[in-house]
Symmetry: C2
């Protein structure tokens, strides 16, 4: 047994044998060809071929799996759609993968309570569509919506483009069922919005990336489907102007602001000019770009956004802008922002930082990072795009592909972040890729408490070993 408590050799094959017997042929994959695609996620980290891929169909089977794996000391990596960017679903050596792909489907939509009950393996987009079919909306939205599963978005507390209006995934989870390392099932699938009857246990499983338990079912809070929205793109002199714009938008539109996305000129130029990933909706060079979406009000939201633009243009906060007049124009504006998902090939080897600081300090943090990187020969280019209202920037830094360059850039950027008391990951999660940097965002006391929780809930260290808290901490 190694230091993580994970068993090797014959105990592993005993475990796989027992699992195969319990799950039946549809419930387990063991051939290297079948297992290969389950080794890694979208982080760029290469996983090791798992001992087996388990495909349980019920909560009871997940419970049985964890009992068997506990008995044999075999680690379990839970997997949803493998769209994570931090390696949380990559398999280390000597583990089984537990995929929720057969635990899929909507269990109920309750329009009066505005809730949706679902299996963890249901794709996010399926949930969004089921909500829409009931005239409602599930507000969590990310680019990987077609593949990412609800269980994965809960385990990673996914963020995305609607956080300003609706919060992170945590804010939309009403009820949850999870299986602990010892196989016990902790289930609370009520639709009760308010429930202070003891500790709120579901919070343990939201955002802990499968290290404290495996999510099997959830009750989600739906909200109204905005009947009509308006979308505009503003060009501004700098990030400080974007903050003024945000304050003015909050005064004018309040909770009707659906998205408030920011793009720095480095990113804008790359997707609109250096590549043909998107067409530039406004001409000329500007210091900052904002994509603003609001829910329609009784006054007609396009007119409202137009009046808002006029006021800010008059006050010299905004330099230029364009208002989408059709669904096609809306898609074209969103395209500039969503092109971030396709820069990979054109931009070369890079690190995708997912940084969170106080929203009021985001611009100054980016300036400080740019100043540091200007002196670094390792840096071949940097793009910045993010969520202005949330204090979250995706800083994408190109380098020569060497481990040395990567290390040096990470040391500098995470070092700066530590000085700013920011988050090494705002929404992508720690996973395995950022586990070595967690102490840049957390105090020794916080890490000690995390380890105490992990030791209490998973004393053998079987659940997603190496994710979030690495053994080296």
């Amino acid at each position: 047994m190694d230091r993580n408590g994970i068993q090797e050799g014959s105990a592993q094959s005993d475990a796989v044998g027992e699992l195969a017997e319990m799950l039946g042929p549809r419930g387990i994959l063991t051939s290297p060809q079948d297992c290969a695609r389950y080794a890694s996620d979208q982080s760029g980290l290469s996983g090791v071929l798992p001992l087996a891929v388990l495909r349980p169909a019920t909560t009871e089977e997940v419970s049985h799996i964890l009992r068997i794996c506990s008995r044999h000391h075999v680690g379990v990596v839970p997997q949803g759609g493998r769209t994570g960017l931090s390696g949380g679903a990559c398999s280390p050596d000597g583990v089984v993968v537990l995929s929720t792909e057969r635990m899929s489907g909507i269990l109920e939509v309750d329009p009066e309570a505005m809730t949706l009950t679902t299996w963890a393996g249901t794709p996010l987009e399926t949930v969004q569509e089921a909500a829409r079919a009931a005239g409602l909306q599930y507000p969590v939205d990310i680019g990987a919506r077609g593949t990412a599963t609800i269980g994965g978005t809960i385990a990673t507390n996914a963020g995305g483009i609607r956080v300003l209006q609706h919060g992170m995934t945590r804010a939309s989870v009403l009820g949850l069922e999870a299986v602990l390392a010892d196989g016990s099932v902790v289930s609370r699938l009520g639709k009760t919005v308010k429930d202070n009857s003891g500790f709120d246990l579901k919070q343990l499983f939201i955002g802990s990336e499968g290290t404290l338990g495996i999510v099997t079912r959830a009750v989600l809070q739906l909200c109204r489907h905005a009947p009509q929205t308006a979308l505009a793109l503003f060009a501004l002199p700098d990030h400080a102007a974007a903050l003024k714009c945000l304050a003015a938008a909050r005064q004018r539109f309040g909770a009707r602001i659906m998205a408030f996305e920011g793009m720095w000129p480095d990113y804008w130029d790359f997707v609109c000019h250096e590549t043909s990933l998107a067409a530039a909706p406004v001409a000329g060079r500007h210091g900052f770009y904002l994509l603003i979406e609001i829910e329609a009000g009784s006054g007609g939201s396009e007119e409202e956004l137009e009046a808002f633009f006029a006021e800010l243009f008059e006050a010299e906060v905004v330099e230029d802008g364009v208002l989408a007049k059709s669904l096609g124009e809306m898609q074209a504006l969103w395209r500039v922002r969503e092109a971030v998902g396709e820069i990979d090939e054109d931009f070369g080897p890079h690190i995708n930082f997912d940084i969170g600081v106080s929203p009021s300090e985001l611009g100054r943090f980016c300036d400080a990072a740019d100043a540091l990187m200007a002196d670094m020969p390792e840096v071949r280019g940097a793009l910045k795009v993010g969520h202005v209202g949330d204090g979250n920037v995706h800083l994408i830094v190109a380098h020569d592909g060497s481990a040395v360059a990567e290390e040096r850039i990470e040391v500098v950027i995470y070092g700066l972040l530590r000085e700013w008391d920011g988050a090494v990951t705002a929404e992508h999660g720690i996973g395995r890729v950022k586990a070595r940097w967690i102490a840049h965002s957390r105090t020794p006391e916080e890490l000690a408490l995390m380890r105490r929780l992990k030791a209490q809930l998973d004393p053998l260290g079987l659940l997603n070993p190496g994710a979030v808290l690495s053994a080296a901490d």
Copy 2:
């Protein structure tokens, strides 16, 4: 040492002596006259005179207190404004009380980040006023706002009248500092809205009623202060009509619905007719009453509410209604709802149930409870008032004041609630009053996990002993 691990006799006086030396004369009260008012809260439960009342002024002093109390095995009851309704701040035998009354004051308001940083002992109303002075709003609001502290509202995850729009207190806490039983300080006072860098530890301390740690400081998320609101009272045939009204309001006003409060005729008649606690804003007998508040839209919200009423009146969902035309009329309408805080003397001995069920089932649950109570001679009257959108009813049941009647009524109502899979407390908390009923809302697996968390974070059982999880479970 008794079964809770709490020390008795000379060890207690050793502990008090050490605490007095560390805290100095302003930091500790020991005379029975001074300590008496700290024994109980607003639950009606009588606490025992504490060994001493500790009044730390800093986080460091709280840490020292917990180290000393751990060494001597002396239990600690944390206290904010003692406005709780579940006995969570009542002191059992042989403990010290830790009051946050000297850890009071706003530390910072950041208008750009829309955050407010405060000591735990600051009254809720002081926080609300500081937010308003910056043109913003702290949305958590409860009747006890003048006395309840921020720390207390966080420890109990307070609900109130703005939950429909802004969620429970949990949704407004961005950063938190808490002291564990062993004196270690877990502090994360950043203003970062999005932070997935490891487990979200603050969730442990929100709503756990001081049993896992003592909250010392917090960063709160502020929101826009609605420039203008409109308020109406609708009279309807029954609760089913109120649900129709809610669905229609959500379609029309979306996130602009600020309050959606329900009153059953038993409550209405008691405050408006049987007593003079409030004046009836509409005449005649109706099956249900709704207080609806919305944020002003660009169309002028009074006109919007009027049009909304006309549509529902036409559809025979609403029977009558009144729209507040002035601040005075708004206060008069709110008065009917807020009179619930003053029924005590007129209504005689009673149990204040704080029940949560699925919002879609709230009306049927209340009908079922009424049907059961109709056959119970112990029941002298019942009033129902609550938060329609949240599935939360305050069912107030009068009895003869005997323990036998109280027991019988609790057995029946909580028994019914168990069948409906509801919450024995939606917003008031378990405290000491409801600790014996927690298993009616939680499975054995959930309770086992709660006990594991408690054992890990507070192995000696010193933090708020007897609250939430009783030793008898």
